[in-house]
Symmetry: D2
Subunit: 369 residues, 4 copies
C-alpha cells in the first residue's frame, strides 16, 4: 500500500501519519521526492482499507493498493496451478479446467414441460453436450414475463438427467431455494444479476456443489473475482467463471458486448476455469456460432449455449437460442477447431502438409509468451 502526500504537506503531519500507521504488522517507509513525500507500507497490508487510510489526514492525496484484493481466487494462491472442477454426472466425471478438453453445456433458457426438456436433452446429448442447462427460476426484467416453473421444473430437470445421463446446471435466485436446487443440480448457477447478491454467494459457498458464476453486466474483472472470493472464503473452492457479455454504450445490434479478452486477462490473475456464454453475450442466435468459435480460439474451458427445440415458441430468450440442427452443425465445427487449439502434450494432428513444428505453441491456454 502506498500513501501519496499532497505537495507541501508539513513535515510534522507526515511524521504523525507514519506514527499512526506504525504497528506490529506494518512498517511505514518514507520516500522524499522532489515535490511530494510518499509513504510505503510494508507488512501485512491485506487487512488495511485504502479508503480508511485516506481519511487519516486531509494532506493525503491518494492511497494506492499494490497487492490485489483477492486471495483464494488469485493465481498465486495455487502457485499458478489451474483449478480442476470435477463433476460427477451419470455419464461419468467431467472436468472443467485449463488443461482439459472443452466442456459443452446446452439447453433452453427455461424448462417449459417434460417432453420439451427431455427432448432437448436428448438432442444436445446427441450433438455432444455434457451438461444440460435449463432455468427453473428465471430472472426476468418484467414481472409480467414468464418467471419459470420453479420447483416443478426442478423435477423435470431430474427426469431429463435420468433419461440422458447429462449433468444438470440450473440457476438459484433466492437463498430459500438453495437446498431444493442443490438436490437436483450438479452445478449451481449464479446469474449475472445476482453476482453481487452477497447473501446468496455466502450460501452457495457453504455447500458442496460447484458454482457457475456469471459475470455481472457492469462488473469489472476485479468485482467478479471478489464475488468468487466470497464463495471460496465460505468454503467452496469449485467456482467456474462465466463471461456472458457486459453492458456498453452500443446495444443496437447486440444485447451485450462479449468481452472475450477477459479470458487471457483472467489467465494472468486466477486459477479458476473460464466459460463463455455467447448466447447471452450477443443476444442473437445468428451471432452465436461465430462467437462460440472465437471463444475457443481465445482459450475458453467451457461453452454454454442456449438451444431450444423451437426458438420461435420459446417462453423466454427465443431470439438467442439455436435450434437443435444449428447446434449440431456448430458442434461439428467446434470438434474441428478444438483439435487445433487442444492442449494435451501429444503432438496435435495438424492439417496435413503443415510444417509447423511448434505444435506446443498452440495451447488452448493463450499465454504463448
Amino acid at each position: 500500500m502506498i500513501v501519496v502526500m499532497k505537495t507541501d504537506t508539513p513535515n510534522l503531519e507526515v511524521q504523525r501519519i507514519i506514527e499512526e500507521l506504525q504497528s506490529e504488522s506494518i512498517t511505514p517507509e518514507k520516500i522524499v521526492g522532489k515535490h511530494k513525500v510518499i509513504i510505503g507500507l510494508v507488512g501485512d497490508t491485506a487487512t488495511l482499507n485504502p479508503e480508511h487510510l485516506q481519511q487519516l489526514s486531509p494532506f493525503i492525496e491518494k492511497v494506492m493498493r499494490v497487492d490485489k484484493p483477492f486471495k483464494r481466487a488469485s493465481l498465486e494462491f495455487r502457485h499458478g496451478e489451474p483449478t480442476e472442477v470435477s463433476v460427477t454426472t451419470p455419464n461419468g466425471v467431467v472436468v472443467f479446467g485449463q488443461n482439459h478438453p472443452l466442456v459443452t453445456i446446452a439447453g433452453p433458457c427455461s424448462v417449459e414441460n417434460e417432453a420439451m426438456i427431455v427432448e432437448t436433452a436428448q438432442l444436445v446429448k446427441a450433438a455432444g453436450a455434457q451438461f444440460l442447462r435449463g432455468g427453473a427460476y428465471k430472472p426476468r426484467t418484467s414481472p409480467y414475463s414468464f418467471q419459470g416453473h420453479g420447483e416443478t421444473a426442478l423435477e423435470l430437470l431430474a427426469a431429463a438427467r435420468e433419461a440422458t445421463g447429462l449433468g444438470i446446471i440450473t440457476e438459484v435466485m433466492d437463498t430459500a431455494d438453495l437446498e431444493k436446487v442443490a438436490s437436483v443440480a450438479d452445478i449451481i448457477q449464479i446469474g449475472a444479476r445476482n453476482m453481487q447478491n452477497f447473501s446468496l454467494l455466502k450460501k452457495v459457498g457453504n455447500q458442496d456443489k460447484p458454482v457457475f458464476l456469471k459475470r455481472g453486466m457492469a462488473s469489472t474483472i476485479e468485482d467478479w473475482l471478489m464475488a468468487a472470493e466470497y464463495i471460496m472464503a465460505a468454503g467452496n473452492p469449485n467456482v467456474i467463471l462465466c463471461e456472458r457479455g457486459i453492458r456498453t454504450f452500443d446495444r443496437k445490434y447486440t444485447r451485450n458486448t462479449l468481452d472475450l479478452a477477459a479470458i487471457p486477462v483472467l489467465r494472468t490473475l486466477t486459477h479458476l476455469p473460464i466459460a463463455i456464454d455467447p448466447s447471452h453475450g450477443t443476444g442473437k442466435s445468428e451471432y452465436v456460432p461465430t462467437m462460440a468459435k472465437a471463444a475457443i480460439a481465445a482459450g475458453a474451458d467451457s461453452l454454454m449455449i442456449e438451444v431450444h427445440p423451437n426458438p420461435a415458441k420459446a417462453l423466454s430468450d427465443g431470439p438467442q437460442s439455436l435450434n437443435p440442427r444449428q447446434y449440431k452443425v456448430l458442434m461439428q465445427e467446434i470438434a474441428v477447431i478444438e483439435k487445433v487449439f487442444e492442449t494435451d502434450d501429444q503432438k496435435l494432428s495438424l492439417p496435413t502438409g503443415t510444417s509447423v513444428s511448434t505444435a506446443q505453441a498452440l495451447p488452448k491456454a493463450q499465454l504463448t509468451m
Copy 2:
C-alpha cells in the same frame, strides 16, 4: 407493437404472419411501403413479447414496441397524479412526493455501536433530518470487509429511533431477513446491487412498509421502473426511487456518475417520488454538498446523505461521509435553496427587489414547459 418485414418478403409470408397474429384481442394492420411492408398490431399488446414475435419468421426484420413495458409505475397509471408516500415516524408523518417539501435522510453507512448510532441520530436530527439511515446488513465488494452487525444493529437502530423520534431506513439483502428488518425499519431499502434481485423485490412487494429502491449501477431508467413494477405488481404501491450514480468509463475522480437528468426524465414517465444519494453518487465527501444542491435544483423530492461522527474511523464508506458539522452547514444552505425551488401555491419569498412575478415558474417540479 410494430412488425417490420425485410425488403422483398414474399406476399404469402406476410399473409401467413398476419393470420398467425390475428386473435380476439389483436388486430394486425398491414402498411405497404416503397421498400418494406410493416404490420401494426392493434389491441391488447401488453401481453405480447417482441422477442417472440421476432421468431415468427426469418423475414421479420425487427419488432418495435410502441407502448412502455411498465404500467403501475407509469405516469398514465395515476393519470399524471404524483404518488405521495406517507411514512409515520415517532416525530410525525413525513410525506415523500413531488408536491411536498424535501425529505432529508442522513446517517452512517453502517451501524457500528449504540453510542455511535444514537449520537449520529441526535446530530442529524438537530441539523434537520427526518430519517436516520444506517446499515445493519452491508453489501461489500470484499468478503474480508466489515459485513454489518446484522440483527444486533437492527436493535441499535430501534434504540436510535426511540431516542430521537427519527424514522429508520435500512437495507435488506436477503429474503430470509425481511421480517426482522421490517419490524424495525419505517422504510426498507433495496440496494443498487439487489435492484434486480427479483425474489427480494417480490417479497418486499408483498408487505406493507414503503420501499426505497436504489437504481442499479448499470440499470437503464426502464430497468429501474420495471424493478419498481415488480414491487407494485406484488401489491405495494409505496416505492421511492433513488438515483445513486451509474457506472461509466470515467471512474478516476468519482466512484460513479450521478445522473441528475434522471429526475426530469422520470417526471415524464412515472408518478413515484424521487430521491438522490450524492454520497454514493460521487464517492467523495468533498463533492457531496455541491451535488446535493444541484439535486434540489433538479427537483429531487428527497436527499439521502451519509453522515458519520468521525469519517476517518468509519468501518465502511468513510471517504464519502460528511462529518456532523459539514452536514449542518449543508442543511443550512439547503434551507435557503429549497425556498427558491419550493412548490407550494403561495407566493415564494423571493430575494428582495426581485421583480420576477412568475413565482409559479419556479416549481420544484422541473416541467416548466
Copy 3:
C-alpha cells in the same frame, strides 16, 4: 512515479533496474516489502512515460504515476488562482471565471439565413444572453444531413454581431478554416468530436482568440484537461471547458448523460472556467431548463443553450432547442437562482426572513469544505 516489482523478483534484476533508472535528474529509492519490492522515482519524473518504464523488465508488475499528467491546466500552475477569460464584445468586456457572474450563451445549432440569425440574436439578447452561438461548419453524423453554410454563415454571424453587439462563438472543424473563423468569432469552439483532433488543438493554441473546449463524449476528465493542455502548451492560456454530456449505456430518454459532478471535480484540478451545455447534454428541450438550473447550483461559470426561433423547422438539432419564449422564462428563473448562488463578497440578498447568516457559505464555487 512508483515501480512495483513482481513477487520473487531476483535481487539482481531489481538492482539492474535501479541502475538503469538512475540519472542526473532521477533518483530511484528502493522499499523492500513483505512480498514485494517497490522502487520510488524521485526527481523530474514529468518526462518519464510509465508505459516505457513498464517495458524495462518483465519483472515489473506495474508503474504508477503519482503526479498528474497536466501542468498548465492544473490548479497548482496558478497556485489555486482561477483563470479569468476576458472577452471584448461590442457590448463590453465579458469575463468567464469562477468569481464572476454567470455568462450566458444562446443561439441556434446552425446559422440558417440572415433574418433567422439576426432575429435569434435579438431575442436572446433581449432575454439577457451575452454571446450568440451559431454553427457555420456543422459536424453531422450523416453526410446527408445539412452540413452548415460555411463561409457564408460566418458573414451572417458578423452581421448579427453588428446588429446586436453580442459576442460570437462558433465552431471550427478544420485547420484550413481557422483563419476565417477567427476573423469573425470572439470565441472559437472545438466540438466534442474534435476534442482529440490534436492538429486542430495546436492550431487554436497558436492564435489569440479564447477557445471553448467541449468534452469528448467518451473523454475522461483527464483526457479533457490534456486536450486543454495542448492548447495552452501551444501558447493560448484562454481555455473555457464545456461539459456537454458523456456517452453511457442508457441512451433511451436522453442523448447523453450530463456529468454535472465534473464541475466540483474540475474545481479541485484546474483553474479554468467551466461551462455547461444542457442542450446537447440531454438532447431534449423539455429537460433543458431543469438541467440548466442544476448546473448553476453545481457552480457553472457559463451556460450554453440552444435557442431556435422555430425549433420544429430547425435544419439541425431541433428537438433540443428552446424557443425564444421558453428561453426568456428560463432566463428569468436563472436570474432568481443565480442571486442565491452568487459569489461576490457583498452580502447576498437572501430571501426575506431567512436568518441564515452564512451567506458566504453559498458560493457559486462549491468547495464549501
Copy 4:
C-alpha cells in the same frame, strides 16, 4: 418511418400532421390502435429527419426509423456482394475482402529512424506480413509525448517500402497533410480519435487511395458505418473498417474492450472488409496473440498488429507491441489456424482422421445459419 402519437391525441391534430406530411414522395398511412394512433410514412423517407418530424407537434410521442441511415455502406447497396479492396504494392496486388485470405499488417506505432523502420519492415515481411504500418503523425493524449517525425517519417516509410516491397499504411491527422501522406501511403489510415473528423473524412473520400477507418472508442456500429458513408459519398468506395477496442467501465487490465462481435454484426449490415487491431484493442502485448487468433475465428479479413524491434525502447505504445520473435511465432500459429477457417471453395485440408465432410461449413465468414 413511423410516427407514434400520444394517447388521446385529438383527431384533428392527427389529421393536420398527416396533411403536413403528405407530399409527392411521401404517403402517410394511419393505423388506429386501442390506445394510440400511429402514422406510417411510405415513400422516399431517406431524406426525412426523425428529429424534425418529432417537432411537428407536441402530440408526437416518438418517431422511429425503419430504414437504416447508411446507403453506400449497406449490404443492400451491393446486393450482398462483399467489396474487394485491391491494393497494388511493390510485391504485388493484395486484396482485402470476405472471400480472400487474411491480410496481415504489422509494424511499429511510430517511425523512429531509418534503421529501425527498415529493419522492422524486413522482419515482419520475413514473418509473412504484407503491409507495414508506422506512424509519421501521431495522435498522443499528451502534448509532451512524442508527436511523430511527420514529413521526415514519410520519407523513411518510402525507404522501407522500397527496401522490402511491403505496402505502406500510415495515419493522416490533418487535411493539410493529406497530399503528402497520400504520396507515400498505399492505404491511408483514419485514427479512432478522428473517426468523426468529418472534414478529414470528406477529404480522404475525395482522393483515390483506400482508407483504413478505425472505429472511434465511443462510436456505435452505426456511427462507424456513417463515417464510412462520408468517405464513400465523397467518391471513394475503398474503405476497410478496423475495430480497435471500445471504451467501457472496465479499464484496469486492458486499455479498451475489443468488440469481436462487431465482425458478425457488420457482416449482416455491410459489404466492406473488416480488420481487427488486437494491439490497441487490449493495450498489452501479452494478450495480443490470443485475441489475434480469436479475431481470425470470428472471421476477420485482416489483422493489424504492432511490432517493434525493441518494445522497451519504443517512443510510443511499447507495452502493446510484440517483438519480432513473438510476431514470428504468432504468424506461424495463424498460418495453422487460418487453414481451418479458410474460405476458398476447395476442400480444406482438415486434420487427418477428421471425418467432418462439411468443410464448407467452416467459412471465414461466420454466417453459418
